[in-house]
Symmetry: D2
């Protein structure tokens, strides 16, 4: 594990965008899995700016969504609609390069990823409760591949999705499990702000336990954690050595 | 994870030797970590036979021992003396290519491995109690790097070492932790015989838990498990898909 | 470049089979390109023997033929019919895992390989004239990707194919070019016997020139050359260091 | 080969800096070889800015100079003094992480690189005559590893070094050869401006020939070429597909 502490959110976003661009510019097929949400918004703005200034073959760059919360009466769920808005549409990504995860395909999606050559990079955030992708405390098994989860109406998660989208979430969500994520060649975990400081300390310095799902990520052979100073404030600086 | 079920111990040993030889023959520095014990004896016999029939540059092939049980009044502990006898001496491995782990160097050994470019391959066995390297049920933390452990006089482990060596083990052992092992580029787990059948089922099909230390290995992005039919007898054959 | 000199053809074949099996046993999709001809016959016999003694998932193991000489009035050309006989049929390789190169698809085959994740390993022989795949002295450009070549009736190559197959070759052949081959992650070059000794010295010790097409292979970052003693007899032993 | 055409020099520099930073942030030892000269000045400015805004462990990041022109009566030659000024000193790189190439060590430097785990990335420019590193038309052999070259007093190269440094070059230079460069895991070639436009077309679209030394780089399995619009102006846009 390599930990990077950046001066601010802008620097965190620039470094993360640089990692994604590095993969995009390699001379081979590249399979990326990029998080939706508020943490990566800065990263997407930078990616869009850079991509607007270059010409290159983008037909070998593939995107695999790592979770989804379906929304009632909507074609796209929370993840897909957010990624469409923040990146896929403004970057004009070709439909055939976007691999949506959903309740229809999640049981074969893992096989598809392997057949497509495996994931080169996953960029993830971490929840204040320690979740990553849709792996929540209480529902996470470290041995799980892609799986679906009940979303109980009225639960915290349910209410959060309602608030973000103004729409009603469906009764079931889907997510890459720990095994799917750990199978990627490279992981990047990003976090910023005071609100993430406590969980970041637990994830990076505490025991590896299903109660703090993201803690398992620290066992991956090639993981980089990029934090701003606020999120890193409680860390033992020995982690930088 | 890829599971291979072989007809017999000889085939398991040949396939494992072939994997080790493949690394040895690559055109680059290679860092190997190979298990001592009875399971790999067949593999070492094949390696010695093959190496006796070829000429090649071996100066870039490095060996890093992954655990040690010091023996009182002996220069070498259980692991190093076993590897010397079964492989290093008959294969005439140069001293500078053998990296012994011991109580003097274990706190800097992990750093040394990283500086040396990381481990390309670890070949391990699994204990009937689910241990790998020196990670035992009850003492294993998935977040641990290389660490030392007390070896209580009179304990099962203590008596086993006494029986194997005819010597008195020291009070402290040392081992790669889960994090060290999971940091390698490739893992191979081998097991043969009826006596390993139950634990193999637990390791490969059960939950990932510190009570069955080897269960964490199933989360590695590039692990191959090579079994004979006896060790594989309780497995759900879906694992082969 | 790593050079391995083996005691005899049997050892060369065993080591090469071991390399191929190592790829087959990795926990990921693997894309292989294996030579047809007489040099690899020993390797295929060993592969078939080993594969008959193991159970594993083979659905992720893919084969990409690297050249072809079509035969008049025949469904399969020289390469495909040889590979069918020596390996694909006796090993019961599924049709969907065999990627035949031919005059119909060669202009899109390179793109297909890249989309499929690139080649993990190419195992090749070398001709007494220095050719590799279908890259002959006089027709080889180091900048070429997959290309077709005229096969002049009555030429040495034409007569050779007639003699081997008892059939009439078509007027055009197809082959991976140097750029396609050098794009693979790992290369293995095999040669045995007195008849290859002179060209092996030129390929490994001489200048990199289109007149000795295989000489370009020595610039690949991960190439292993496996020879028997006869093929290696003129080599400067410094190559082993 | 992947070709990227950027809007301007600033974008070329940002993308290249992003690639270098990506390597620096990976969780492993990384061995870099970065060009000196005027082309990368923008890249170094960006690297210095970014590095000033982050805290991380830099002890695993190593730098290997790829050529040198010794200067009479000076401790450091042209390459080392330029890199010191533009990057090593302002970035406060630790002495032990800088691996200077010179006339004293060049015969063992290649071995050292391999023992250190190989080069992860080389960032190079291209000369208007097609040279890369110190591989000039007329002195380049594609089979060469690190080698020394005479620098004839009064020659163009000699006069250029005199002009840049205001000092007298020594009679001998040293450089990574084609084989050393092609042995790296990843290559990045950068070029900007009208003055490079013609040679870029030759390098990327012409034959692979020792008369245009950089042409050999196009055969590497993982090379990215980053150009500004002026340097790319004569290119066939099919290269972007």
């Amino acid at each position: 594990m390599k930990v990077i502490i950046t001066k601010d959110y802008a620097t965190m976003s620039e470094l993360t965008a640089g990692i994604v661009l590095e993969k995009m510019m390699e001379s081979k097929r590249v399979n990326l899995s990029l998080t939706a949400g508020s943490t990566p918004e800065g990263m997407y703005r930078i990616l869009l700016d850079k991509l607007s200034k270059i010409e290159m073959d983008t037909s070998l760059i593939n995107y695999y969504n790592f979770d989804e919360v379906p929304l009632e009466n909507e074609r796209y769920g929370l993840t897909m609609s957010t990624l469409n808005k923040d990146f896929y549409e403004p970057a004009k990504i070709a439909k055939e390069n976007i691999h949506e995860l959903n309740l229809e395909n999640y049981q074969t999606f893992s096989r598809k990823i392997i057949q497509d050559g495996g994931l080169d990079l996953i960029v993830m955030g971490v929840g204040a409760d320690g979740h990553f992708c849709g792996n929540m405390p209480g529902t996470t098994g470290f041995d799980k591949d892609i799986y679906s989860c009940e979303l109980v109406p009225g639960s915290d998660g349910f209410q959060l999705v309602e608030k973000i989208t103004g729409k009603t979430p469906g009764p079931e969500t889907v997510t890459f499990g720990p095994k799917t994520v750990l199978g990627a060649k490279q992981l990047v975990l990003i976090a910023n702000g005071e609100a993430k400081a406590k969980i970041i300390k637990q994830v990076l310095e505490g025991p590896v336990t299903e109660e703090v799902p993201s803690s398992i990520l620290t066992t991956h052979p090639n993981i980089t954690v990029i934090l701003d100073q606020e999120a890193a404030q409680y860390l033992n600086k020995d982690l930088l050595k």
